[in-house]
């Protein structure tokens, strides 16, 4: 039959750290909690980000060739007209 484990003995060699004395730790936790739940600060750079966003949206419109709404290069025929020697009456 197995002997029961002496948990108290095990724990005597498996010591635990104590929290700091007083309220130091709870004060630290509350400060971290406040920071974690604080609303995000408004960025001072938001006008710059806004302008960049608008420019990004408008850029495709500015660079599309007027002759081709789809943005593809227009098809241009090159070379002389071919004379196939066919005559018509």
């Amino acid at each position: 039959m197995k002997r029961p484990l002496d948990t108290a003995l095990v724990l005597s060699g498996w010591e635990a750290l104590e929290p700091p004395d007083g309220d130091a730790f709870s004060a630290r936790v509350l400060a971290a909690f406040d920071e974690a739940v604080a609303p995000p600060r408004q960025s001072r750079r938001w006008p710059l980000y806004g302008a960049l966003a608008v420019a990004g949206l408008l850029a495709p419109l500015l660079f599309v060739p007027r002759s081709s709404p789809s943005g593809a290069a227009p098809i241009v025929a090159h070379g002389p007209d071919l004379d196939l020697g066919l005559q018509t009456d």
Binding site: D6, L9, V10, L11, G13, E15, A16
Partner: protein, 198 residues
Amino acid sequence: MQALKWAQPAERPQRVELDELTLLRAKRGDRAAFGALVRFYQRPVFALLSRMRVATDRRDLVEDLAQETFVRALRAIGTFGDDGRNRLSSWLLTIATRVALDALKRRALPTQPLGELSDIVPGTRRADDELERRSLREAIGEAVERLPVGYRAAFLLREVHGFEYEAIAEALDIDVGTVKSRLSRARAALRAALSEIA
């Protein structure tokens, strides 16, 4: 070295919980109640985190993880009890366990016996002299160090913090059969280590 006596299985540790009024105030966001909650449970949270060996030579890291545990808890305290739980200690220690396991996954943590730190709580049992105590601590520390972290967590939650099997299973995200298996193996490993000492 004197022969060690073998104790009878200990009863599950009794846990005292925060009073209901303070808990209710904390759930409503009362800062004073938050502070009271942290002070009430900081000792078991520190004990669990340090015994999990998340930072055996870094007190500051244990404090960081304890802080993370409580911040997570305070952010979610408004929902505590919604799922039928009624033990705040179990809930907090479950969070602490997961924080510890996450930390152990994230980094290869340094190992240095806790006994070398100056601000350690002395063990409850006294050996005949300091040399014996040191040998005992070292032997147990080595045995603990060899335990896989999942086994260590299961043992601590059961034997130190009095969790039921189901609560351990939930905390470690494993099934109850695995909990029992881990506990059995952890006890066997520690029993073998103690036998060597004796």
